[in-house]
Amino acid sequence: MCSLCGILGCDDHWTHSVDRPGVFTRNTDRHSRRSEGARRVAAANRVLSFRRVTLAEWQGTSYVVSNATGASSVFESFSHLWPEAETLAGREIDPLDEALIEWVEAR
């Protein structure tokens, strides 16, 4: 639990490779966790730009997605990224869509 805001739980999504016994771990300190977070946001934005949606991290605790009209949405768990992004984009984001594949290849 966060001692400041009292929010329960934390975002231990499988991609974060958090420091836990028996689990693939590579981000064991604060700096590496933050830089991994920044890389993750950059990688997501390469895909999201296809639908003109942008992801940003907020204080290392939450995420904000916003679209070209300025509408935005805040969420805490990385697992909410794609549903939130699709809602703001107003369309689905399909990794098997040829146009998206070409978009990602070009970046």
């Binding site: 693939f24 990385f78 098997l96």
Partner: protein, 328 residues
């Protein structure tokens, strides 16, 4: 952490019979059992000899639509009784209804804020009826889905099967799910007690050194179920992989019955194993060493109605692999 084993299998494939036998086994003496009734009659609990304090009967019927909350409630109740010292158990077995997908229960274990600190995935056991399974696999996607989700497969009714049926069935099972261990009913206790080995490498014989390759088998042409594997001889970026797989599972998780992979990650000496069922990815595991053979990343999917070639295209694009190849 207390392991939770899911016992699943097609209707009439012998789950209750198996459970009945297991409950009399001394190796299972400290197991709490949750049973899910199907329909109003709820015959199953009459067939079970030992319904004591450790058995909670779930009365809602079909597990796939209603029981997520009940599984959580039942497990919370068990945990609370154990904390108060009223019962003691060191593993939980959940028997699901014949049509159920194991995914909602696994997801409940993973996502529930309290349960995830006390219970872990102890594996999915699927009972497969040696007499009828071959036909079920041809006609019912649920049967394929349950076999695909299994960590271990228990063959039942082997005494009733025709000679020659069992080797053919084993071949079918290993095409659908090459990484599951297949045992007969007599070895079921050891299959439950055995710890899950998520690092089991998929399809070790399907690697070709020095190149990209992929191939797939049609498991069931009518249902469009295929098993598909791809290997890549370059390192994979963990962050890009995470973005790709989360997006793929978000959009198509309900059509990906199972996936398993061993990855050569940029900046890591040891391989990382990932595996999951539908939308759910288990915690990735750092393996101690590479299995025999070349150090290549491999991914295996069991899919329904998706084009393997397009998945390969998408993977290569998201990982930036085609670009690297073009430069080379």
């Amino acid at each position: 952490m207390t392991p939770v084993t899911l016992l699943t299998g097609f209707l009439g494939s012998g789950k209750t019979t198996l459970l009945q036998r297991l409950l009399t086994d001394p190796g299972m003496a400290r197991a709490a059992v949750l049973i899910n009734e199907f329909g109003e009659v709820g015959l199953d609990h009459h067939l079970l000899d030992r319904i004591d304090d450790n058995v909670v009967l779930m009365k809602s019927g079909c597990i796939c639509c209603t029981v997520r909350g009940e599984v959580a409630d039942a497990l919370m109740n068990l945990q609370s009784l154990r904390t108060r010292g009223e019962i003691d158990f060191d593993r939980v077995v959940i028997e699901t209804t014949g049509l159920a997908d194991p995914y909602p229960v696994l997801q409940t274990l993973r996502a529930h804020p309290v349960l995830r600190s006390h219970f872990e995935n102890g594996g999915v056991l699927t009972t497969v009826d040696a007499v009828n399974a071959a036909r079920q696999v041809e006609h019912r996607a649920e049967a394929v889905r349950q076999i695909a989700a299994a960590d271990r497969i228990i063959l039942t009714k082997t005494d009733l099967a025709q000679e020659g049926d069992i080797p053919a069935l084993r071949a079918t099972l290993s095409r659908i799910n090459p990484s599951a261990r297949v045992v007969t009913g007599a070895d079921a206790t050891s299959a439950i007690v055995e710890r899950l080995d998520p690092a089991l490498p998929p399809l070790p014989d399907e690697t070709e050194p020095g190149g990209h390759h992929h191939h797939h088998h049609d498991l069931n042409e009518d249902l469009g179920v295929v098993t598909f594997s791809m290997t890549v001889d370059q390192n994979v970026d963990w962050t890009d992989f995470g973005i790709w797989l989360t997006l793929l599972l978000h959009r198509y998780g309900d059509r990906i019955f199972r996936f398993k992979g061993i990855l050569s990650i940029e900046g890591e000496d040891r391989p990382v194993a990932v595996h999951g069922v539908q939308h759910l990815v288990h915690a990735p595991v750092h393996m101690q060493h590479w299995p025999d053979g070349p150090r290549v990343s491999r991914l295996v999917f069991i899919l329904e109605g998706l084009d393997p070639e397009q998945i390969r295209r998408s993977f290569h694009a998201f990982m930036g692999l085609e670009k690297v190849k073009a430069v080379a």
